[in-house]
């Protein structure tokens, strides 16, 4: 079996979640790499949208920015941020991939501050389009390394909505009905959410890890699916595509 690093397995596993013919709103970095890998493997007709306005480009290389020229290279349309976000708002976009500094058991994300808002200990970039994508897209997915610093009991600042306080709290919040977090993909496991409580639940463990590893690298109690799957390792072909075609300069997978 090939060697691979934490970023590589996250990208490969994430790519497999995207079905052919779906629409996905992505940012730069790992989400974009996952979408590009999906296009080259199981989802050749995956429709990629970038929040600044690029619709269905033929990506010649990894974009550096969600607004750079590559995001609308040989695209169906170079539109506006409104075109993208309102397509999401109308229910045209199936998936989004997000990240964040912190995530809680309901999939809520913090990308705003650690500490006090007025004079924060650490200031992060803020929502950007993350809250918008998570509010509007049908299925929000997260790619993030598994550790106690990121997986926390309570996020310092709830930037981007997951299942909020769990249960029916999101349904009652006013956010579009039927949207919400779907899968959380880390370097150790795949999680989904238990349908009633909306609590994070481990459903598949990556090679070399156990449920115990995952739990130990999580700041809250994880649920466990009745049958835990074994995540297939990245295939040689997945790794080749990722390393040779998608990210030859290791911008993302070299992190």
């Amino acid at each position: 079996m090939a060697e691979y690093n934490a970023m590589e397995i996250m990208i490969c596993v994430a790519a497999r979640e995207l079905e052919n013919g779906a629409t996905v709103g992505v940012g730069t970095g790992a989400p974009c790499a996952a979408a590009m890998l999906a296009q080259k493997t199981t989802a050749p007709d995956l429709v990629i949208m970038f929040e600044a306005g690029g619709i269905y480009p033929t990506l010649p290389e990894m974009p550096i920015s969600v607004g750079d020229s590559r995001t609308f290279y040989k695209a169906a349309m170079a539109g506006s941020m409104g075109d993208i976000m309102e397509a999401c708002s109308r229910g045209f976009v199936d998936y989004t991939f997000l990240g964040g500094a912190q995530i809680d058991m309901y999939g809520n994300l913090n990308s705003t501050v650690i500490g006090n808002h007025a004079k924060p200990k650490v200031r992060f970039p803020g929502s950007g389009g993350a809250n918008d994508f998570a509010s509007f897209c049908w299925r929000m997915m997260v790619m993030t390394p598994q550790n106690n610093r990121r997986f926390v009991e309570k996020v310092d600042f709830l930037t981007t909505p997951g299942w909020l306080q769990g249960g029916d709290s999101r349904a009652k919040s006013g956010l579009p009905l039927g949207s919400g977090p779907y899968k959380i993909i880390t370097d150790m496991a795949i999680m989904d959410f238990e349908p009633q409580s909306k609590r994070m639940r481990v459903i598949s463990i990556h090679p070399g890890y156990s449920f115990k590893d995952v739990q130990e690298n999580c700041g809250f109690e994880l649920l466990k699916a009745p049958q835990l799957a074994d995540t297939p390792a990245p295939s040689d072909e997945e790794l080749r595509l990722l390393r040779e075609e998608i990210d030859p300069y290791r911008y993302v997978i070299g992190r």
Partner: protein, 329 residues
């Protein structure tokens, strides 16, 4: 209107459309020559204390030359719309020109990493911050462009993002559903970089629009920086291509490579090495000070900045990169 929930963030600008109308009523409607030096445009239209918005998307079709000039002129106490502001914010933070900010995305340069300078300034306590999202800020500009005090959206509900915003949640009287009202944002002054404009300010650009059409409509004063001036006959020949009509515009500044070191679609790609230099040099205050002197304060204008960073040879390299001239696709 029963308010179900509302943010506690400060609303930096009045969303009253009647006040905006009174201002817009005073703007000249004639097609007059508005060409001027960028230096003059910034001196004349960006006043200390104004609320500023910058077009484009961080380092894409962003009027970086104008950001440098704002810093060079040591503007102070500006408000700022930080909707995916990346390198533009990095420049403005270096000058500490703003003291209040509507945040959607700040500090970061996307895949390139975070700006230590922007981060320090944002963590200094010197900046008042109200939180939004990219679409929320776009919606606020849309409301202003429509001449109404708000538009509704369906994002942010249930989060701290709305709690630290100045938005309000109400019940829709048609459906009984909750919606968030985003208050109109009429910036005092904005700068948008385009490919082509005539001397009156009729402007066009290629590639993604981001939120620039609404921004142009929403802004009380609008400075256009353009890669090239074109004859007005060319605008008239193809009025479908006009994205920003002249009557919104107060100044037209011809600034070739005006988005450098960012990307200008179909013209030049971003100078990643130089952007990395910015991020690196910020780690050392003394080094950063010298860097700013060299690249902003001691430069007469954008042309000199470019000359100090590779000049025409670099510009041609970035053009080749933008157009993928040496890459098979």
């Amino acid at each position: 209107m029963n308010i179900i929930d509302q943010g506690q963030g400060e609303l930096f600008l009045d969303p009253d459309p009647d006040k905006a109308r009174e201002f817009f009523r005073t703007k000249n409607r004639k097609q007059v020559n508005k060409v001027m030096d960028l230096k003059d445009a910034i001196a004349r239209f960006v006043k200390d204390g104004d609320y500023l918005a910058i077009g484009g998307f961080g380092a894409n079709r962003t009027p970086i030359a104008a950001c440098h000039e704002i810093v060079r002129q040591k503007k102070k106490n500006l408000g700022f719309a930080g909707h995916t502001s990346t390198h533009d914010m990095e420049v403005l933070s270096a000058g500490e020109v703003y003291d209040r900010i509507d945040v959607a995305y700040v500090i970061g340069l996307e895949a390139r990493g975070l700006s230590p300078c922007s981060r320090q300034y944002m963590e200094s306590g010197k900046v008042k911050v109200t939180e939004w999202t990219n679409y929320s800020l776009a919606a606020r500009l849309r409301a202003a462009a429509m001449g109404v005090p708000f538009v509704p959206t369906r994002n942010v509900m249930g989060t701290d993002t709305i709690k630290y915003s100045a938005a309000k949640t109400v019940e829709c009287p048609f459906t009984g559903k909750k919606v968030v009202l985003m208050p109109a944002l009429y910036p005092d002054v904005s700068v948008i970089h385009v490919h082509e404009a005539d001397v009156y300010g009729n402007a066009r650009f290629r590639g993604i629009a981001v939120a620039d059409i609404d921004l142009a409509n929403a802004s009380k004063r609008l400075i256009i920086t353009t890669e090239r001036l074109i004859h007005s006959d060319e605008i008239k020949r193809d009025p479908s291509a006009t994205r920003i009509p002249y009557f919104l515009v107060d100044a037209v500044c011809e600034v070739p490579y005006g988005a450098y070191p960012g990307t200008m679609p179909y013209e030049y790609f971003s100078d990643e090495a130089h952007l990395r230099e910015w991020l690196n040099v910020e780690k050392d205050p003394a080094e950063f000070k010298a860097f700013l002197a060299k690249n902003i304060f001691d430069c007469k204008d954008h042309e000199e900045y470019i000359a100090r960073n590779g000049g025409m040879k670099k510009m041609l390299e970035l053009r080749a990169k933008e157009l993928l001239l040496f890459k098979e696709v």
